[in-house]
Symmetry: C2
Subunit: 152 residues, 2 copies
Amino acid sequence: MIPEEIKDTFLNYLKLKAHRITNERFLILDSALNIKGHFDADELYLKMKNDYINVSRATVYKTLELMNECNILTKHNFKGDRTRYETKIGRNPHYHIICVTCNRITEFEYPMIEKIQNKICKENNLEMVDHTFQVFVKCDHPETCEFNKRLN
Amino acid sequence: MIPEEIKDTFLNYLKLKAHRITNERFLILDSALNIKGHFDADELYLKMKNDYINVSRATVYKTLELMNECNILTKHNFKGDRTRYETKIGRNPHYHIICVTCNRITEFEYPMIEKIQNKICKENNLEMVDHTFQVFVKCDHPETCEFNKRLN
DNA sequence: TTCAGTGCAAAAACTTTGCAGGAGG
DNA sequence: CCTCCTGCAAAGTTTTTGCACTGAA
C-alpha cells in the first residue's frame, strides 16, 4: 500500500550514501507513511509497538532523520513543541495555521508563496531544501470556531 | 538605552495580568533587548551571569515566556534546535533563510507575505498572534557564499 | 569477514517544577 | 499580611550516545 516510488526514493538515498538496507528502516518507513498528518518520533515508536512491530526508539529517531534528509518527510517545530514530521512526497507545498486557543493545526496552500520563495532563492543563488511557514492565530471560541469546523 | 515604550509595554502587560513588578523581570528585559539577533534562554542567562547580573535560569525561562506573551519577543524553533527568541518591537515583519550548509540565518522582508497572512486571517475570522516563515537552503561553498557575504 | 546498524540503557540537552525563603502589593 | 516571585536543585521531557551484539554486503 506504500507507493513503490517512495520506497525507491528511500532505497536510492540509502545506496547513494552507502547506508545499509535494513528491515527496520523499511518497517519504519511503512509505519510513518501510514500516519495521516503530523507525528513525532515517540508517537511513531508507540504506534509500531502497538502493531507488534518492535524497533527501538533510537532506531526510529535515526531513521526519521534519514527520511528527512532524502525529502520523504519534512520536519516542523511548532513553538517549542517536540519535533513533528509530515510526509512530503505526493503533496503540494503547504503551510500551517496553528490556533493558540484550540491548539489545532490547519493547512493551507498558496502557490504565490512558492513563487516568492523561488524568486528569493534564484536571486541569491540558493538551492531551496525545505521550508516551513506557520501562522499563529487565536479564535476565542474553540467549539464554534468556524475556521476549524470548516477546514479540519 | 532601552526604549521606554518597550518597558511600558511590559509593565502594562504585567499589571493587566496581575503579575508582580519585580526587579528581576526588568533586568532580564534589559539584557534581552541588548542582544542583537537571536538568542536562547541559556545564552541570555550566561550573558547576564557574565555581566554580574545574577538571576536564576528558571526566572529567565519564565520571564522570556512573559515577554513572548506580550509580544515583545517572538519565538522560533529552527529544525529541532532549542527555542530561540528575537525582539519584535520596532521591527518590520521579516522571515528567515537558514543555510543548512553554513548554519547561518539571514533575514528578509517581504510585505506581500504579510498581505497574504492578513487576507487568510480576515477570510477565516482569525486574529493573528504571530508567525514564522523559514526557508532552508543550501550553498555549496560557505566561504564564498555570495548570499551570506552580502546580507550578513 | 567486516563494519555499520540495532537495541538497550545511560547520558545529554533543554525546560519545568517543588519548596523554602523573600519581597511586592 | 498574604501571595506571588525567586533561586536552587531536583525532576521531567525529548533526543543522542556508548557499547556489545547482529546482520548486510
